[in-house]
């Protein structure tokens, strides 16, 4: 059994991969570093406390006390030159000048200044006896699932499946071709299908490590959960991985040099990095582009992953995107087999 050519070929693939430290980093480390950096940079902070100041003058301390009690505001008393300086440099959201007519001084183009003005005004008006006619209550929602990192992790997963599928297959095939190893294999009774299948098999083994590393990191660091079933995530990633392995095979089917295949890889991957909604929603692209964007395999894969991870969809409802992913893989693989240069 362990001497079956498919097993030996797959083992060779895997050994060549894990004995290449750079490859390990780009496949496993890089997406985690990216998730960490982007997760930190775009974490949901909320508006936090807005800093307002009351200008020194009569009644300043009473106004400051009222404002300090308001939720979301912190208030200090400053002399006028200090206050103006801090307002100009953005350290103050709002300056309140007490008096017969209360003056709000703020930059109306800054969101937090306008927010501070609303909050301060409400606190002051209420303290002077304003009664709100309508009765309201609040329900606050801060659930995981709506944050940027929740959007990002499935996208990074999709992008990683694309990258490792294309590079993993394309690079080794072309390397074997340039080193005349492919030709050497052709001089043995090896079945061509065994050779091609060995890429698929070894990809699947690494796939689980890849997915587990990224999903595990997202959960551990940012509490990004999987709302749908893990089985569905596994199914989608296997399909995506096979599809991109097929695409990698197609890209590598004729190329004779590493340079040529690298160029082709980037040509294939670059549009998808930008268009397929890995880092931001593809809804931002014009309507005219949407059918094209949605037909890309990475778009469909990302959609399917987000549907399961964020919305908890079942596989049955993801026929359309999964169909697109499968079709890309199948067509690429069949074409690659027909035009493959074996020597």
């Amino acid at each position: 059994m362990s001497d079956h050519p498919l097993v030996q070929l797959s083992l060779a693939r895997m050994r060549e991969f894990y004995r290449e430290p750079e490859a390990i980093f780009w496949v496993f480390g890089f997406p985690i570093v990216l998730a960490f950096a982007l997760g930190i940079a775009f974490r949901n902070r909320g508006p936090g406390e807005l800093r307002v100041a009351v200008q020194q003058g009569s009644g300043d301390s009473a106004v400051a006390a009222t404002l300090a009690r308001a939720p979301g505001l912190s208030a200090v008393v400053l002399d006028s030159s200090q206050a103006r300086l801090q307002l100009r440099t953005g350290r103050l959201a709002l300056l309140v000048v007490p008096g017969e007519t209360v003056v709000y001084r703020f930059d109306s183009t800054r969101t937090e200044s306008r927010l501070a003005r609303l909050e301060a005004d409400e606190a002051l008006q209420r303290s002077r006896g304003r009664v709100d006619p309508a009765r309201v209550t609040e329900e606050r929602v801060t659930e995981p699932g709506s944050r940027y990192i929740d959007f990002l992790i499935p996208g990074l997963l999709g992008m990683n499946l694309m990258g490792s599928g294309l590079w993993g297959v394309g690079f080794s095939v072309v390397q074997a071709r340039t080193k005349k190893l492919l030709k050497r294999f052709m001089a043995t009774p090896m079945r061509r299908s065994d050779y091609l299948l060995s890429f698929v098999l070894s990809r699947l083994v690494f796939l689980f490590v890849e997915v587990a590393a990224l999903v595990g990191f997202g959960w551990w660091m940012f509490h990004v959960g999987v709302r749908g079933s893990l089985g569905a995530v596994a199914g989608i990633t296997v399909l995506g991985s096979l599809s991109f392995a097929g695409l990698g095979m197609l890209v590598a089917s004729r190329a004779r040099t590493i340079e040529a295949v690298s160029g082709l890889m980037n040509l294939v991957m670059l549009p998808m990095w930008i268009l397929s909604g890995t880092f931001f929603s593809y809804a931002r692209f014009p309507d005219a582009m949407q059918p094209f964007v949605k037909a890309l395999p990475l778009t469909a894969l990302n959609d399917a992953l987000r549907a399961v991870m964020i919305d908890g969809s079942s596989l049955a409802r993801l026929g359309a995107p999964l169909g697109i992913v499968a079709a890309w893989g199948l067509v690429s693989f069949v074409v690659a087999l027909r035009i493959f240069r074996w020597r």
């Binding site: 030996q8 060779a12 080193k179 190893l181 294999f185 052709m186 001089a187 043995t188 009774p189």
Partner: protein
């Protein structure tokens, strides 16, 4: 067209060499025989089978062949053992890893990465991958090119052991020493054609003389004072005269008669020698006499 009008037969259990300079069509010829290149026309029969009768017969034929290609680079990051194990998995019947590593004397490199092997060791590993299938017929394309003399001798021993066990070998080389030493018969190729075919001994004998005397004159080319070709040919014992760029080579039957006569002739002309050498005729001399060019032009 790389090769044309080739017609040759390799007998079972013999070692047959294709000898010729780079670009003579040796590799194209051997790859057509190996079924890696399809000929535009003509017929190839290997071990009674043909490459053109479908994948079933081709695969059955591949089971019986051992092939080493000229410029294969085996995967650097696999060990010797892993590489052999991979190749042996392709065959229905094969040597064990231990057996084949013993055949090429690489036992102590078993766990080394291929990338760390010396050139000679890599080449023996390539031959091990060819031998692992217990082939009846072994194809070797320039097996010793670029190797140091010791590595070359080690490979010759490997080939010798394979032949002693009853195997047939077809190899290409541009080292005539190798061809003379290993091959029962050689075909000398030039510009895609066979220009001579026979045992090394008979080819050398076809020169009509066993020795070669080479000389050059002190003033470089020295052509004005050098004797004319006819005069040299008329010297006793000289069979052929081959002027080359920097020297003149004479094929002679009896060195002891030809050399004194040559010296006397040069003496009369007042020409001074800068080189005088004699050696037993080799396949190189056969090639030069047939083409007027050196076998190795590097």
């Amino acid at each position: 067209m790389a090769v044309a009008g080739l017609d040759l037969t390799v007998e079972a259990r013999e070692c047959f060499g294709l000898l010729g300079p780079n670009g003579a069509g040796k590799t194209t010829t051997i790859e057509i025989l190996e079924g890696l290149t399809a000929p535009d026309s003509g017929e190839v029969e290997v071990l009674g089978m043909r490459w053109t009768r479908g994948t079933g017969e081709s695969r059955a034929l591949r089971e019986r062949l051992g092939i080493q290609l000229q410029d294969t680079q085996l995967a650097d990051k696999l060990t010797v053992e892993e590489t052999v194990r991979l190749f042996r998995s392709f065959y229905r019947s094969a040597h064990s890893v231990e057996e084949v590593l013993a055949l090429v004397e690489l036992e102590e490199k078993r766990t080394s990465w291929v990338g760390k092997l010396s050139g000679g060791q890599k080449q023996r590993l390539a031959v091990a991958c060819a031998l692992v299938s217990r082939p009846e017929l072994l194809f070797l394309d320039e097996p010793t090119t670029g190797l140091d003399p010791q590595s070359r001798r080690q490979l010759w021993e490997v080939i010798g052991r394979f032949r002693a066990a009853g195997g047939t070998v077809l190899l290409t080389t541009h080292y005539m020493e190798e061809a003379e030493r290993l091959c029962d018969r050689v075909a000398i190729m030039d510009h895609g054609r066979i220009i001579a075919l026979g045992s090394p001994r008979s080819l050398i004998a076809s020169l009509g003389a066993e020795h070669v005397v080479e000389f050059a004159l002190a003033d470089g080319s020295g052509r004005p004072v050098a004797p004319a070709t006819e005069e040299l040919a008329a010297l006793p014992g000289v069979r052929a005269v081959r002027p080359a760029v920097d020297r003149i080579a004479l094929t002679v039957e009896e060195v002891h008669r030809a050399v004194p006569a040559l010296l006397a002739l040069l003496e009369r002309r007042g020409a001074e020698l800068s080189l005088l050498a004699t050696h037993h005729a080799t396949l190189e001399d056969v090639f030069v006499s047939l083409t007027g060019r050196q076998l190795r032009d590097e």
